[in-house]
Structures are given as C-alpha cells and as structure tokens.
C-alpha cells in the first residue's frame, strides 16, 4: 500500500478492515483465486450501506425505517466475458468461494495478480458525515414537518401532503488484479414532497424534490423545505386549470434545469461505450460526425462537488472526470468503463457504475448537461409563434438501437404569439436521438442543474444521476397530447 495513513482513503479502507476483518493479504488471496482459471482481470467490490428514511403524511410522522446491508461482488474478465459472483457474508471462506465461482468464466492456466496495490488518488467532492447510526433524527424530522406545513399553507385546495426524507451512507472499497485500489464514502440524501389538490370534481397531483451528496445544510434556498413544498403545491394547483396538450409536431421550448433529461435520453444512453462496442446503438460509428446543431455542447461531469450524480471514484475505482460528449454539434466521445476501454482501445472515462455489490458494473452517466449559449430566455420564448413551453418532466426512456426516446412533461404551457398562455395536461414528447438536437435553434444563457432528484435505470440497475440545461428551443419535436 502506497498511501499515507492520514489520507481520507485510509479511513475508508480501515472501515472494511476494522469492521469485517478484511486484510490486504485476504484481498490478494481472493484476487489470486479469481484468476485461478486464467482471465485477464479480476476485481473485488466491497460495499456497506446504511440507509434511513422518514415520512410525514396527513401531518403525522407515520413512518421511519432504516436498513443496513453489506456484501462483496467479485468479477473476472476474460476477453469479452464477465464472470460474477457475490456474497453478503464477508468471511474469508465465502469470499474465496465467490472468487472461485467467478473464476469459472475463464479456462486456462492460473494467472498471478499484480503484487502490491496502488491507490487511485481520490477527489473530495462531498463531506463525509461521522457516525451513521447516531443520526440527528430531530433535525431531519424538522425538514419534512416544515415541508408539510408550507405545502398546506400554500392553498386551501391542497388536500393531501406527504413529505419524505431519505439518506444513505455508502462505503465502497475496490481492489483489482492490476494493482488498482480505491475506496470512497458516499453520502446521499433527498427530500421529497407530494401533494394532491382538489377543486370540485378535478383532482391533480404535484411533486418536488431535491438533494445531493451533501449534508443537511444543502436544504436552503431553492432546496429549502418551503421552496420544495411550494413548488409541489404550485404544480398541482396549476394543473387544476390545465387544458389538453396539443398533438403533433411543433416548436418546443424546454425550460432550464431538469428538462435536461432530454440530453440523458436523446444522446446520453446512446453514447455509453458498451452499446457502441457491440454496435447496438444508433450512435455507433458517428464519432466526428454532426449529431446536433452547432450551438450544442454536451458534457458528462462526475466531478461536481455535492451533486447527486458525482463520485470521487467510480465503482471500478477509477477517477471520475468531465467528458465532452458533443462539442459544437459534433460527436466527440463515449462514456466508458474498464472493460469497454480495453476492448475498444479508448480511454476509460471513469464511468463504470453499478447499483450495488450484486450487480455487474457498466458505463453510466453521472451529471449530464448542455453548456449555456448566448440567447436570453425571453428572446427564445418571444420567437415562437405557436408551440409548447415545457418546464418540468416526469421520467423518460430511450430505445438505444433505433434512437427513439420519450420524456413526459408534467408542467408545460402553450406558447401563442411569443407569449406563455394556458397550462396543459401531462403529455409525452417523442423524438429520434441522433436527429432531435439538430433542430436546436436557440440556446439560453441560463444554464441550470436539476435539484438532485434523478435516478437512471439500465438493465435493471438504478443509479443516482444529475442533468442540466439552459433554456433551449427545438424547431421541431412531436408532442403527444390529445388537443389541436
């Protein structure tokens, strides 16, 4: 081990060493066992998670729960093959057994892992709270009680309020046969408010949330319980008077922040290296080609302090980075993990992520956003004769093979003669990834990142992500409403 004992990494490592009796010698034995049938590479991923959640509902603190889990996933790579086994019992016998199981993917003479680990330099993007079991529950309860009060006070038509707070502390340690070694302690918390509004026969819902890899002091300003509660309540009240969304192709203006989910679906997934290595993505072979308007530059950045999608090191122990995906409309790069980087002969972008120790890592996004342009949001809206202004969204989805993607607007308005008019009911927007961003004709100067609510699913694995965008005008997009 080559680190100084005072580094934060030493603390992360000591957690597993102290709590589970893991030793450097044991790590080496497991890696040796993992390569006992050959294979190019093996790694061990230790994980320990402590999660707490609290909920207020009908002004009553109804729920409180906590969960702890720990385990280790062992992976062996042999060419394009992956062998994987995991165990929630961290005894040497079970770890060695899991290593032997994963080893079966290869068939050949045993290989020797590199002797001695070299630790990945780790960023310090988030504070590491002490304790874990001894949370100050009162301070956390206060957040959801404040949210509850603010949502109820917003409007008498708000008839139901639910607020929840959840927090986890995830510790990881990665040791690999190439000698790489990394550890991290990742806090993540989130505050959510859900409301129901009712007026006569019409019932609507509203939701808002925020969070990130930071302490309770992040819940101020736009993420204060009051702001989030008002945002949820405002959305529900607005929907009470919404008209049917229009149907068909039209100009669409996306507001700043969370509508950046467009980028996540339209281009982000299609640029994950595994799909391009296998040539199953609509973006395969398009590096260096124009895939967007020259006004569009999109990056994925895992190194932003405190953000929900950020990581000091990825789940393979590699340093995270800022990766340019699209620069002035031209496709620049893919998001890669160790396997795809090796097989494709490209740089590892530190994008190897997994949901937990039971899951095989793959290339994933972190915080994905479009850089700001020169246009003022007012000019953008003024330029639209008839269109849709969408400022908030539910989820999205993409078929990476044919490039078709959807994302569902939960707050949107008609634009008529350059003015925002009636709010519209929920509608899905649909487009084609490699084409959609070519229709971007104006990019606002108001880049904003989301409040920290995104969760991305791929192959059944969920990971926290962030998105962001300035106000953007697309000259053509299909809006899936029922109206004219």
């Amino acid at each position: 081990m080559t680190h100084a004992d005072s580094s934060p990494v030493a603390d992360h490592k000591r957690f597993f060493f102290d709590k589970f009796g893991i030793t450097e010698r044991l790590l080496e034995r497991c890696l040796g066992e993992a390569l006992s049938a050959g294979g190019d590479y093996a790694d061990l991923y230790f994980e320990s998670v402590m999660a707490t959640s609290l909920g207020v509902d009908e002004q009553i603190v109804k729920s409180a729960s906590q969960g702890t889990s720990a385990g280790c996933g062992i992976r062996v790579l042999s060419g394009e093959r992956t062998g994987y086994a995991y165990t929630d019992n961290l005894s040497p016998e079970r770890l060695l057994h899991a290593a032997r199981t994963a080893a079966l993917i290869a068939s050949g003479p045993a290989k020797q892992p590199v002797q001695g680990f070299i630790e990945t330099p780790s960023a310090e993007l988030y504070p590491v709270p002490l304790g874990g079991y001894d949370l100050d529950l009162a301070a956390r309860l206060e957040l959801i009680l404040r949210a509850d009060r603010a949502a109820r006070a917003f409007d008498a038509r708000i008839v139901q309020v639910r607020a929840g707070y959840s927090e986890e502390l995830r510790r990881i340690l990665v040791a690999a046969s190439d000698g790489s070694f990394a550890s991290d302690t990742r806090p993540l918390c989130r505050l959510n408010v859900y409301v129901i509004a009712k007026e006569g026969e019409v019932t609507t819902k509203g939701a808002a949330g925020g969070g990130g890899r930071a302490g309770l002091d992040q819940f101020t300003g736009s993420k204060s319980p009051e702001s989030l509660a008002r945002e949820a309540a405002r959305g529900a009240i607005l929907q009470l008077g919404a008209v049917p969304a229009p149907a068909g192709e039209m100009q669409v203006v996306l507001g700043p922040g969370w509508p950046g989910i467009l980028l996540h679906e339209a281009v982000g997934h299609g640029l994950e290296a595994d799909f391009n290595r296998k040539k199953t993505s609509a973006f395969a072979g398009l590096i260096g080609q124009p895939v967007a308007s020259p006004k569009v530059t999109v990056v994925d950045n895992g190194t932003m302090a405190g953000r929900r999608g950020s990581l000091n090191v990825d789940d393979e122990g590699s340093a995270t980075q800022e990766t340019v995906l699209i620069e002035n409309g031209v496709l620049k790069g893919y998001l890669s993990d160790k396997l795809s980087a090796r097989l494709m002969g490209m740089a590892n972008t530190g994008s190897g992520r997994r949901e937990n120790y039971q899951a095989i890592p793959m290339p994933r996004m972190t915080n994905t956003y479009m850089l700001a342009g020169d246009d003022s949001p007012e000019d953008i809206l003024r330029s639209v004769k008839r269109g849709l202004y969408a400022v908030n969204f539910g989820g999205g989805q993409v078929d990476i093979t044919n490039g078709k993607f959807v994302f569902s607007a939960s707050e949107a308005y008609l634009i008529e003669d350059g003015k925002i008019t009636a709010p519209v009911r929920d509608a899905t927007l649909i487009g084609n990834g490699p084409e959609a961003l070519k229709y971007v004709s104006m990019v606002g100067n108001d880049l904003k990142l989301d409040e920290g609510i995104g969760t991305c699913g791929k192959d059944g694995q969920s990971v926290p992500v962030g998105v962001g965008m300035p106000t953007v005008k697309l000259d053509r997009m299909t809006v899936g409403g029922t109206g004219r």
């Binding site: 109804k62 729920s63 086994a85 819902k205 969304a245 999205g396 044919n402």
Partner: protein, 465 residues
Amino acid sequence: MPQTTVQPDQTSVDLESLTADVVAQAIKAGASDAEAVAREGDEFSVTVRMGQVETLKDSGSRGLGLRVFVGKRSASASTSDLTPQGIRQLVEGAMALARVTEEDPFTGLPEAAEFGAVQGDLHLYYDDVYSLPGPERIEWARRAEAAALAVDPRLTNSDGGSFDAATGRMVLVNSRGFAGGYRTSYAGVSAAPLAVDANGQMQRDGWWSSARRLADVESPESVGQEAARRTLRRLGARRVPTQQVPIVFAPEVARSLIGSLFEAVSGDAIWRSASFLASRLGQQIAAPALTIVDDNTLLLPTGAGGFGTSPFDGEGLPSQRTVVIENGVLCSYLLNTYTARKLGLKSTHNASRGLAGTPGVGCGNLYLQPGTLAPHAILAAIPAGLYVTSLMGFGVNVVTGDYSRGATGLWIENGQLTHAVEEVTIAGNLAEMLRNVTAIGNDLVFRTSVAAPTLRIDGMTIAGS
C-alpha cells in the same frame, strides 16, 4: 465450456426460528407488536452474445426485516447481517425509530382471527430449475440467440440470448401468532436480436419464456424464432400523421394498461383521492364487456402456481380471489390492512411486503377476462388503425387518468397489418379509454402475473408527423 455448479451462498440458518426470535426480542425490548420477515434467494444467469458467453453470474443473498409497534406508533428496519450482533442492532434500530414516529390511529397488525394461509400445494417451487448442468444452461442461452439469428440474413447483430434461474424463500412471523413461509422458483430463457435494413436502419426486439418449472419453459429455439419475427417486423418503420384512429393493444402492451389500472384501484391511491377511480365503487366505469380479476390463488393450465400466486399476503392474510371490475362496474379496490382501515373496508389480502418499510398494496395474478374474438378478427374490423406492440415512457397519471406514451407497432389498413410504425405517441384519458374498449380478444396467456388479451380502444389520438 466452463464448468459451473450451483452452491448458493447459504449457511444453514433456520429462518423460522430466526424470525421468531427477532419478534421475541422486539417484544422484550418494549414493542407491543412486532412482525419479522426473512428472505433468502439465489440466482443464476448467463448471457451469450454472438455465440460467446458474455456474462455468467451465480450467487445468493439473505435479508431480514422487522416492523415494530409501540401502541399506535410504528417503525421498521432491515439488515443483511444475521449474526446475533446484527440482529441486536436491527431490534435496537427499529425501537429507536419507533420513538420518533407519532401515533397513527389506523396503524397496526391485522386482528389474530384474520390470519391464515391457503391450504394445499400451490405449486410455487420446482427444484428442476437448477437441474441443468452448467454447460447445458449456457447452451440454452446460446441456442436461443442462434435460433434468432438463423431466421433471416438481415439479423446481423444481437443483444444476446440468456438463461436465468432463481429460487427464493420467505418466512413471515408476527407477535399475534402468525408464522408461515414458502419457497418459489423461476427459470427463463430470452433472445434479443438486431436487424438492419437496406437503409442502415437498426431495430431490436426480443422475446422470452419463463416459468416456475424448467419443464414449462418454451424451447430456446421457439423463443429465438419469435424474437426474430418481432425484430424483423419493425424494419421499415415510419411515422404516421397525427390523427384519431382505433388502437389495438397487443397482449404484451394491454398488460401494461392493466398495470396502470392496478395503480388506480390500489387502496393507497384511493384513500388519498390520488386516483381517477376514487369514490367510484359500485359505478359503471368501463365498457360492459370488461371484467378484471385479481386471483392470488391461481394455478396455471400447466398445474404450476402463477407468478402472482402465494399462500398468504405480506401481512399473513390468506390469499384470495377478488373481482375488481365486473361487466364494467367497479366492484372492489385492492387493499391491505392499513388502506382498508382508512376506507372503512375489509382488506382484500393484497399486502405486499419488502424487507423494510410498511407493507404496500400489491396485486397477485391480475387479469382481464378474455372475450370471444380471435385477434385477427379484431383487426379485420378496422379500416385504418394502429396495432401497438411496444410502449415507451412513464406518461400515465392515475390521478387525472391522463395517458400519453411513445408507441411502436404496425399500421392497420383494411383489416390487415401493413408497415411498421415508430416515433409516435398515443394519448387519451384512462377513464375514457376504459369506456371505449370496443373489442376484447380470446388470447389471454399468463406470461407474467399481470395479463390481458388483445384489446381495441377507440377515441385515442396518435401524435406523429
């Protein structure tokens, strides 16, 4: 080929006595009631891509969850650490959390007289799912992919073929005298080929077969061939203009409509008024031909229990059959104990239980009763329309009923399926869609726990070019 053997990561822990002990410890620590759940499971999966093994996974895990009540306060905790120290922390953690929650008059375990389990073998577990030797499992995955790629030269790439097997066991014990447990098994095979047309347009689709018993899983060849057919029929897809035409939902997407309907009749949405079906009990809410049943005791034609079948629900109440909609009339919500109390109704024994948290509402085998029309007869009556084979996105709002999703399918012209359609949305409102079901197919098959036959719905809007 590598050799693999299944050795689930399980040491011999008696889950029944472990959960009973956890409940006893919680009571001793001051809980007025307690409920513990233990789960253990193991999984095997292999994917083969372009003829080569891509991933092979073989593992198992366990977990324990505890819910405690202190009068009308409650809290829960879960752990993967089943050592005495881990269990002590579990009990202490749950009790500490119960002190910060507040009294909820509706909380609490069901009454002792309500507990029970369906008697007799529900055929949920078959040990044949692990009977194939390791190389044979890889072979199943390989065969599924190979069969797909052999169908047509335009199938040139693949997301692979897979074979999966899993077994699990759950045990539920509470302080009011319920103790029960059951085992489940699963095996499945799938294929996902890619096709490229003359213009370089790529399409992917897939197919799968799964069952509780390996013997009931369709052959890898038939799965591969069906996957190929589904991928090929997407080639040449184009957009269609914005318009209103009849929409025909293929069974695999009609199923998702039933899933949305489940959310709308789930007690949690109902008591909050967060459903377009709240307060509609006893009313005609759908076309008279529509009957929807949730049957948690269902045995499939193969004799195996359905994927939604279980002897008891997540609170220890015996599984039952509930008619949700009969001839278009909303007959029952789906309820657990809490939501039933909130509504002044009786539980329909639909509690779902994870390890942590309070029980939710889950459905068992939820299905739409088949009609008499063959699917081709439904299509034959439509001069112009869209046959939807897959849906994208999350555009279903069960509070307002607003429905808007991305759709892929085939254009119907003069009763025949013609070219493929993509990059359009279909939109409507669930309340109207339920009333506008104008044809129901006779092709109900329980491929998953939620099932529906082919459905025709009128009055929806396609948004396209």
